[in-house]
Every structure is written in structure tokens, then in C-alpha cells.
Symmetry: D2
Subunit: 404 residues, 4 copies
Amino acid sequence: MQDTQVTGADAPAATPLGVGMVGYAFMGAAHSQGWRTVGRVFDLPLRPAMAAVCGRDPAAVREAADRLGWAATETDWRDLVVRDDVQLVDICSPGDSHAEIAIAALEAGKHVLCEKPLANTVAEAEAMADAARRARARGQIAMVGFNYRRVPAMTLARKLVADGRIGAVRHVRVTYLQDWLVDPEAPLTWRLDRERAGSGALGDLGAHIVDLAQFVVGDAIVGVSAMTETFVPERPALAGAVGGLGGAAGQERGPVTVDDAAVFTARLGSGALASFEATRMAAGRKNALRLEINGERGSLSFDLERLNELYFHDESVHGEEAGFRRILVTEPGHPYLEAWWPPGHALGYEHTFAHQARDLVQAIAAGSDPAPSFDDGLQVQRVLAAVEESAEKNSAYTPVQGVQ
Amino acid sequence: MQDTQVTGADAPAATPLGVGMVGYAFMGAAHSQGWRTVGRVFDLPLRPAMAAVCGRDPAAVREAADRLGWAATETDWRDLVVRDDVQLVDICSPGDSHAEIAIAALEAGKHVLCEKPLANTVAEAEAMADAARRARARGQIAMVGFNYRRVPAMTLARKLVADGRIGAVRHVRVTYLQDWLVDPEAPLTWRLDRERAGSGALGDLGAHIVDLAQFVVGDAIVGVSAMTETFVPERPALAGAVGGLGGAAGQERGPVTVDDAAVFTARLGSGALASFEATRMAAGRKNALRLEINGERGSLSFDLERLNELYFHDESVHGEEAGFRRILVTEPGHPYLEAWWPPGHALGYEHTFAHQARDLVQAIAAGSDPAPSFDDGLQVQRVLAAVEESAEKNSAYTPVQGVQ
Amino acid sequence: MQDTQVTGADAPAATPLGVGMVGYAFMGAAHSQGWRTVGRVFDLPLRPAMAAVCGRDPAAVREAADRLGWAATETDWRDLVVRDDVQLVDICSPGDSHAEIAIAALEAGKHVLCEKPLANTVAEAEAMADAARRARARGQIAMVGFNYRRVPAMTLARKLVADGRIGAVRHVRVTYLQDWLVDPEAPLTWRLDRERAGSGALGDLGAHIVDLAQFVVGDAIVGVSAMTETFVPERPALAGAVGGLGGAAGQERGPVTVDDAAVFTARLGSGALASFEATRMAAGRKNALRLEINGERGSLSFDLERLNELYFHDESVHGEEAGFRRILVTEPGHPYLEAWWPPGHALGYEHTFAHQARDLVQAIAAGSDPAPSFDDGLQVQRVLAAVEESAEKNSAYTPVQGVQ
Amino acid sequence: MQDTQVTGADAPAATPLGVGMVGYAFMGAAHSQGWRTVGRVFDLPLRPAMAAVCGRDPAAVREAADRLGWAATETDWRDLVVRDDVQLVDICSPGDSHAEIAIAALEAGKHVLCEKPLANTVAEAEAMADAARRARARGQIAMVGFNYRRVPAMTLARKLVADGRIGAVRHVRVTYLQDWLVDPEAPLTWRLDRERAGSGALGDLGAHIVDLAQFVVGDAIVGVSAMTETFVPERPALAGAVGGLGGAAGQERGPVTVDDAAVFTARLGSGALASFEATRMAAGRKNALRLEINGERGSLSFDLERLNELYFHDESVHGEEAGFRRILVTEPGHPYLEAWWPPGHALGYEHTFAHQARDLVQAIAAGSDPAPSFDDGLQVQRVLAAVEESAEKNSAYTPVQGVQ
């Protein structure tokens, strides 16, 4: 006997939550994988439905929708944010578009997930945070996409710090090292254009590590001293490229208007000392987001290139047996891991987007405050602004503007 | 203007390939994730459609279908294998069921993907390989699910060996260490019952490393000398469990009828020496499939707990600069990586199932020989049988029966 | 005011212990460094005095004495072992000379330190152990130079096992991988000649790991199953070399009469399973003596290429915080470390010889039983003999002859 | 026949070089090991003779001389520096004594080796560098003891940079992390007293990493931006201690007048960005001097806790095979290694002192310029002064005073 009952192709949870996504490049693909997967793995209070994706080129967005699994397409985000089948707008477009789209979506009564950095300027971020606070009063959720908080090892690290397992924090050191600009002949892209990208390694990589450090430590940066550098000030322009996207490198050269690298020291509210480095010029380092925190009772260490591992030194262990232990963060008791595979079966980069989706859906269903909120995103933006200000002022210590 | 064209929720490729899966526990969930993802990431010649899933408990299988994304359910695999909308049968049930299901599916004209180990006995595996050979003549594909071949680092390792980058192979050493039986009070499950599981660590973990070593080296094991051990011969029986699944440990104890661990040495066709160890008793080792190969011109080293990394020593590098280099296997030129994320963005365990699905779909579309074939699975089974025979014969060197 | 009191150039302890060393190549140089250093670092009950060194070539041995710090020279070991200023004979010559020298030294009333392996044959080792037992009754000490027991991490490992920190041992896996014979054109040396060296990788590297594994675990190997291999059966003969030493590779080729590699599995008295591999053919591995022990309550792991580190997994640690911890074995509470540098300041290979010298001098002063004794060395020899016997008998499990 | 020719207990080279050492604590013991060993391992043009050691307490210095192997003792350094049998004065006393002793020794016509940091103030360092320059004209050598330059991996790193193997340097990041002040109840020692020690982590650890980074890169720091911190401003005073040395912690507390930690960013002459961190507050880090350099053609990475290893990424390697390779710096072709053990046999911390002694003896014999010279030491002092000045000036970028 054949049981021919056809069940829904989508996830089983009762009430749907329609998602509309803007942008479908790298981040859009990663978010799509998160949305496709989250309801298959986690028990969710709402059922995410991939309602529509938006892009300017009709043919391209249709192809992307088919490939990534979105039910419909839009070519103007203004149409997307007012669709009836969209309750959540997921913004994966470049930073210069974030403010306008997010504010419109919030004003249209939608929940919003906005990729990091929240905006290209503090002013934009402030407007977004204002809109989010007003929307919050109406029950809407606005979250910023600092997905590395959702690496299980990082969530565990935050828990260990919060539980006092390393005591009062003394030192934080974080780097985010990539190498895709090492070659001086690598072409200009929109990411090297201040108008589009806001800043360079600072906004792209620095935003991640500022948020992540503050998240894990549970404390805020209060001031910074910074140096930034553009090692290669001119690069081959992309011939025939529209908006700096695609195309091959041509004969002409154009100016790089963002930083290649930023190094800065910082103080946290507790008085802890921190150092940060973000660069696209570290030959051989592909995704080396490394974080180490030293406290009065212990230390933690992490490298995103080995994202299933957290290193923990517990000062209370007898000296002859003490040492950094490598925690393979794949146990059922670890954050997010109850839903995945048996111990020792590694997760990857993209799982952070499923985790982010889970947390967001839960916050929407519960009406609870999102984390990271747009206020959190604004605070990161203010840290980045202080970094740029300090770099311009001869590295002078520059307080971060208060968000409260 | 709203573009309301609704595209299919499934992948875009033209001709569908209906998949019917038997079993929906750990392996079924992993395969489902592979089927859901493969068409979203890779360009495929056929469009996999998750047609139906089969399990004995009607309510449970329906719940699983909803959760995992299967369109329909069956409660008898005999019904599944004859469904018109199923062209490929994916067998994820325990080893004692493989032969009957696979042969029936092949005789029903279906392609087959069968989880490892191919069977619990050589006799069953021979029957399956016979059926597969007959079906192959009719244009059907039968593949065995040695998914670790699809870890990009392992595919790259095979390529390096095949390209002569390490020269003639001298040594192979492989371990697969887990620790879920370290506690002597861990209860009896079906995996500790010879009737259900065939063998213990040997069939579960040993099958993986035998296949993987042969795959990477491109050579076959011709004889073995082995020791096996059951360190904890009795364990608490699962009270009230049906078929040994679920239930809490009770007062009664029952016998463990499979091995906890197997260690064996081997010779490959080329004369290389190999050593293998499979155990569930290695405290602290969660998924430590480690492989090292030493050749006349170089060496390779790998650990599944860090599955994005392959270590390669190139003997031709000048001595003062020589050393094992850590290749982060996340570059676009690495196997399978063209479809995923930028360099340095880690993949996880489950990606192997999407890769396996890709390779299988491509083989079906092209009508090309599958790898690993049922003959390959049979050969692994014969190696495992030789291991058991050697262990019974005082570790005497025992040739592996020829598959040709 | 000038304090011109000239103190002894040698160490300060009261009673001298005259040392006479046979051989001054690699091992002789290493032992000399141990003897020169031990009294400068450790508080010793006797003052080692480097009385005389012995070698056949008068000019060469005189040069060596000057360079290494020996007060006098001998060209016949028979003269050395009867010198009045020698109380301890330190044998660093090739294995085929050990038995004759050691027995003569013991019969001359001297203490003896003999490099490993104790002898080239079990018969020689038995004669040596007999002589040592007789001498022990006269108050003499005979120790065999398994110096890796004196790597602080290994001494700590033994202590952790003995203290029950990893519980009952289930698995032992040890490799000793080197690569100096990878090149098939590497010339014949005395180490490749069975007459001189006894065996190849087995006696040279295998002896170390057999002793070390038994030492750390505190248990004896009771039987083995083995394969050995000579991958390159002929190599260029050394033109003009006397006794296979020195000289450049010539046109002629000669046979390699020892093993290039040996792999074997073993059972310990407790029932634990062990695997061993010794090879000179592992490209890129320079001194990879790796040891891992899995017990019911924890695990230990070590690599001689990182000899200041011991990895320890403690099964009693809460699962979410568990993991192998890297103990940097440089704390003052660690074995031998009280005499050296502050924490984190690494020791090297040669320190094992100073530690060995310390333990030997203390045993001589206290009249306590030496460890490892010649009986221990004999037992290792019997394990190696069982390995060769098993390899000849088709890998059949071969019990180790009892030493008691 | 007995060859009773008694050779010298000291090294064999013809012309002796009498060494007189001031201080015999940690550094004195380490230098002594270097002097005892250097002539036994390396072929030297002069024969170092350990003529005399100097300390204030007559009994203690005599005990130290006996233990460490010095022929005579002095209780006043003024007597030591004029001894006829002393040609080289080796200064291992605290930093506040360096200037006076070094200048007197130079004026007495002696060669000088002075421990780092060269002095406690820039003014002292300038006077010392002046004296050294004058003495240089008379043929004398003055070297400062930045021993980490003599870690073979660091010498190799400098060579690789100098040979252009990593191209133009973009980034330098260096930390020196220790943890001996993590406990707030750790007592006051002279190292926490500005009068004696000059500064805290900055002068002790920061001096090392400033010199090492400049040495490896072959470039000078031209400006810095800094933060320093004393996390624990009061600690238990040592009851009954004379001069802050020894004694147990008492009831009273005293102020810590030096930094616990210093973090600073820097620019090198080439425009490269650098970051530095020196701390005694990094729980679990014992001697974590870590250095990474990213250049246009490659990168280097090092950790003093694994001092036999250098990691090298070569950008010119084909992308699919690229990766940081772990060079085990124990090959005969590596710096200093020709004199030591076979490949893979690790060196330790103390070997740096033998290497330093070798280089110094060779410079003295050849009359060649020493490296690092007192000018080099002065320049490091100026960097440290700029760090302190920047920390006082709100982290403002502070140029390093020119040494030329």
C-alpha cells in the first residue's frame, strides 16, 4: 500500500513567516541557505517561507530565485517591502542601500534583518536605529546580521565569560586577516570605492571583530587609538563594468578610496585593554578571525579558520595539569548543536546563517528584544567612526560616542 | 510593479530525478540535507526531487517527511521501490536490510545509493554487486555511500597522489577514533548487536577508513593481520526498547556481540605497508579519522576533526624551506569548492552528502560508471571479512579474496 | 679587593664519580653534553668527573676528548674499563660491541650505562642481564640508556597514568617516523648492515617506542603480530669506507640487510591493544615519535617534535568544557623542571641526557635499583625478537618470552 | 696501554678569551650554560675561559661560581672589570646597574656583553652607546644580549625576509604574553619597582619584541601610538626582603610603579604597519612571544613556545597547493644547526646563549662590528621611551628619536 499523502514541500510549523530578501550575491546566497535549512533542522515557532527575492536585473533575479529557492521575484525593493506575503525583509545589498531600505521596511510594518555593517555612516545608522526603536514599540523586530555571534564556539565563549569562568577580563586581542588584495594588480571593485562601501577592511572586517569582541566579553569599547593604511593607492579599473561589478581589469587605473588595513588599540568599559587588526593584505591568511581574551581566572582563544574549536585555559586547574584545552564545540550541550550531527561532526561557515535565522524567528515569535539590535549595530558604527577619526588625528585616543 | 511569477520551490534544472529514501534517522537526515542543498548550489544535469521517504511507523515517518522535506511517505520499502515518481532509491536503513532493498530496487529498474557498509556479510555484498552489474548493463547506476571520499581535502589528496606529487607510496596509517563507548555503563543499542550491525567499530568505522585509504592511494589492500577486542562484554540492556532503539538503560545487562575496537596491519598491491585502527573507546576523540600517507616524493596528512585542512610535504622543496604545509582546502580551484563560499569559509560534515549527491546525479545523467560502485563496496566488505578471519586465526596474515 | 680563590672547574659536590665513555659519535656527543651539564644544574650526591673517553683512532679520540671535555683518552676499551679513575662506564659504541664491553666493565666492578638497544641479539642481552644481576648483588648499578623516558612530558605522562588519571588503559598507539632513507640513492652505512646494527628501524627506533610505551603505561607487551619491509633492497656502497663509516657513495651497490620499516600490533598484560610503527621512510617526518594512550578515564598524547608539550584529556571534566589540554611541561612542579628555566622556556633533546645522568648518579649514590635496568633492556630485546619472529611467521601472533 | 695524556678541562682552541660575569641569577645561569657549552659544540677562533663571576654576597657568589663553573669570584664589579684574566665583561645584573658597569668595562679596555634592556633610561643608553663607539675605535666589541635573535627560526626568518622571499613587508604583529602577575596576590619584586626595573612588561618583554621585529624585518620603527596599564596597582610587600628580592609576602601592601601591560601600534620606515603587545597578565600564556609578518610575496609566523618551528607561506606556490608550511628548524643547513643534533632533535631556550656566545667570540676574533650593537640597544630604548611618551600623551602618535 502506497501512502500518497503529499506533504508541503516547505517546513511543517504552523504559522508562516514570509521572508523577502534584497540582493542575491554572496550574502544573499548564504542567507538563502540559512532560510532553506533552518526549519528542517530546528523546531521553530513560525514557518519561514521564502516569499520573494529582489534585484534590479529581471532576468538575473529570476535565475537567482530559481537557483536559491525563492518563490517570486521583484526588481524594485519598494515593491518587495510592501508585499503582503512578506513579514520579514532581509537586506543583503551593499551598505549604501541599507538605511533607505531598512527604514522603509520598518515603516511598512515589516521585521528587518540587515546585513552588517548596519550603514556606511553614523548618521544613517542613527536614523535606522531610531526607526527600529519606533518599530519596536509597534512589536516589530530589527536585527543586524553579525553572524559570527552564531558560531557555536563564540556563543559558548560568551557564555563562559558571562558565567565568570575567566573572571575579570584584562586583555582582548582580535585580528581579522584576509589576503585577497595582496596582489597590487587585483582590480578595483565596489568594495574599494568609499561611496559604495563606506570604508575598506575597517567596515568589512573591522565591523565583525568589533561586534564579536564586545559580544563575547559583554562589554563596550569606550575609546580607540588607530592607524589605517592604503598600501596600494591605485589599481586597474574594471573595463566595461557597471557600478564596479564584474568585468576584467583594463589598462586604466583608478584610485582606491578606502583603507586596505586598520590597526587600533582600545579600552573597554571595564578598563580592559584591547587590540584590533583588520586587513586584506595578509598573504596566506584566508579568513583568520582570531580572538583571544585573557581574564583574571582564565583565557579563551579562537580562530575562524578552525571554527569548531574553542581553546580554554582554566586558571583554577592545578598547575602541573593546566593548559589550554581544545574544546571541540560539537557536543549536544553546546549552543545550537542539539539540532545537528553527533559529536565531532564539524559545522561550517554557512551554519551561522541558519542559527541567525533561528534566533530571529524565535525573537519574532516571542516578541522579545533582538540581539544584535540596530542600536548594537549603531554602536559598532560609532566605534568604526572613532577609529577613522583617531587615524585622522594622529592616532590620538578618541572616545566612542555614547549610544544611550 | 510586482513580479508575481511564482517559480518552482524545487531546483530549476529541466528533467527531474525522483528520489525515494529508506530510513530517516541520522543518515537519513544527513542525506536529506544533501538532497535539499545540492541543486541550490551546483549546476546539475537533472533536478533531484525528494519524492518519498519510507519508515515502518506511519506517524513517525510522516513527521520526518514534513521536517526533512520529502513530498510523500511510505511504510513498506517494497512500495517505495516501485513508485513511478522514484528513479533513485537512497538506502539509509541499518546494514542488515541493505541487500534485500538494494536488489529489489535494482530489479525494479531504479538507480540505487546505498549507505556503507554495503552489507553485513560478504555473501550479501556479492549478491548486491551481482545485481548491480546486471543493472549496470541496463543503464542503471548503483553507488555506495562512502561520503568521506567527498571531503574536498580527501578528493584533493587523491588527486595529488594520482598526479605523482608524493611518488610511490610507502606507508599508509589511518585511525578512526571515537569515544562513545568509553563509559562501561553506556547502554546496549542495535549497533552492539551482531545480528543487526554485522560488526562493531570494524564495520562502522573500519569500513570508512578502508575505503578512504584505498581511494586516496588508488590501490587495494591485498592482505591483513588483525586483532579485535570487546573491552566491555556486557552492558545495561535498554528497558522496554523495541528493536534495541531508544529507551533508557535498565537493570538487566546483555552481551555485546560486536567488537569495540579493531587494529590491523595490511599490505597494498604496490607493497606499501599500512596500519589501521578503528575504535569507539578513545576517550576524548570524537571523530578522529586521521590519515597519513608517506611516499617517495612527499607525504600527506589529514584529520577529519579539521576537515578543511590537508597537510602536504613536498620532498622536492629545498631542505631549508621544506615542511608540511597546511592547505586550507577552501579555494575555488579545490574539488567541489567552485560552488561554495569565498576562500577560508569552512565547509562542514554535511557538505559531503551534497557532494555525493552531485557526483551521483552527474553519473546518472552521463550514464557513466559510479564510484564507489557496489564492486568497490564488496571489496571493502572482503577486507573486513579478512580482518575478522585474521583476528580469529591468531592474527595470521590473511589475503583478501579477489573481487575480479 | 680581589677574590682570587680558584674553585674547581668541575662541579662542587664532594665525592667524585669518574666516568669513562666508549664511543664519541652522535651518542657520545650527546652523553658528553649531559655529563658536562648535569652537575651545573642539579644538586647531586656525587660529582661526575669526565675521566676518559675511548676510541680506536688515537688522533681522533684525542680531538674528541678536547672538544667534548674528557680529561684523558684510551684506544682500547679493555684499558678504559679498568682505569682507577673510572667508576662508571658509559657505552656509546654500536650495538654489536655492547655485550662484551658491558660485561667486562661489570666484572671489573664498574657501574655501567649502556646505550639502547641493549644488544643486537637476545642471547647477548641475556648474558648482559645476568652479569648485571650478579653485579647488582655486589652493589653495582647497570642502566640502559632509554633517554626518552627522561623527556619531562613522558615522565609526567607516566605519573598521570600511575596516579590513575586516565584509568584502565585501553589503547596505545606509537609511531617513530624518520625520513633519512626516503631517497633510494642514500648510501649504505653500518646502520643498514645486520652484522653491525642487528636490525634497522626496528632496533633503532622500535626499541625506543617499545620501551617508552611500556614505561608510560606501566605494563608489558605480552605478544605481537608484525610486518617488516625493506623497500630499497640495494643502495650505493660507500667507496673506500672502512667498516661502512664515512666515504662518498660510489658506483657499486650493496644489499641492505636490515628492515627499513616495521609495523606491529601488540597486546599488553592488561589486555590493552597497542600498535607500533617504526620507519625511516616517512618523507617530511624528522623525529616523529608520537604516542597516544586512551584509558577509561582519559587520554594522553605526545609528539617528540614538540617535546615540551603533553596533551591530556580528562574524562571527568564536564562535557561542554572537555577537551585535550596542552600542558606546557615547563612548570617548576614538573619532572626535572625544578632545576631549569622559568615556565615556558623550552628544553631540548639533549636535556634528556642530563636527566638520565642525574637519575643514574642518584641511583649509584643511593644504591637503589636502576630504571631502566638491563632486565628492562632485555625485555625490550625480547619484544623486538618476537616482532622479527612474527614477521617471519606470516604475522602470526607471537608471545614475548618471559623475562622472569 | 693506557693513554694518560691529560687534556685541558676547558675548550681546545688556542688563544683564550677570559670572561668575567656580573650577576648569577636567572640570566647569569643562562649565560653560564652558554659559555660552558659554546666551545664544546662550535669551532671557535678563541677559547672562552670562565675566569670570574661577581656578586655582592661573598658566600653566595662562591657557591654560584662552584655550581656554574667559574674559576674565581669577585664581590665588587669594579675589581672584576680590571682583572687581567678578563677580556670580556658579561653583564647580567639588573638594568639600573648596566650603564655604570658597561662604561667602566669599556674604559678598562674590555669587550662587553650587556643583557637587555640596555639601560633603564635613554640618557643612560646614550652614554653607553657613546662609550661603545669610542671603544669600537680602539678595537673593542660591545654587544647587547637580545638572545632571541639567536633562536635559529628567527635567524632563518631574517634571512628569508632579507632574501626577498616574502617581498615588501606590509604587516608586523608581535605579542609577548606571560602570566606570572595574573594573581593579584603575587608579591612585589624588584621587577615591579620603577627605580630598579625602569619599566614593567614594556622593558622586560617589550624590549625583546621591538628588537626582534626590527631584526627580522630589517627595518626600524619610526613612530608609535601606545596604551599602558597597571591592572593591579598594589601588591603584598615582601616581608624582610632586602632590595625587594626573596622573602615571603607579608601583611603590608606596596605600590606597583611599573606597567603590567603595554599595547602599541607602530609604523616602520618602509610604511609597514605593526602592532605590539607585552603583558604579564595573560592567563595560561607562559612565554608566548608570537610574531607574524605579512609581505607582498609571503608571510612568516612564529611562537616562542614552539621555538623549533617557523611557519612560512610562499605566495608564489600554486593556489591549490599553497599553505603555511611548518619548517622544523633543525636541518643542518639552518642557522647554528650545523653544530647540533640530527634533524628533528629539538633545541631549547638556553641554546640561544651558546649561539650568542659564538657570534660574539667570532666578532671579537674578527674585529667585526657586533650585532646587536649598543647603538641597536639605544634605538630599542628610544622606541620604548616613545611608547611611554605616547601613553602619557593620550596615545598620540610619537616619533622615535633618531639614533643617527
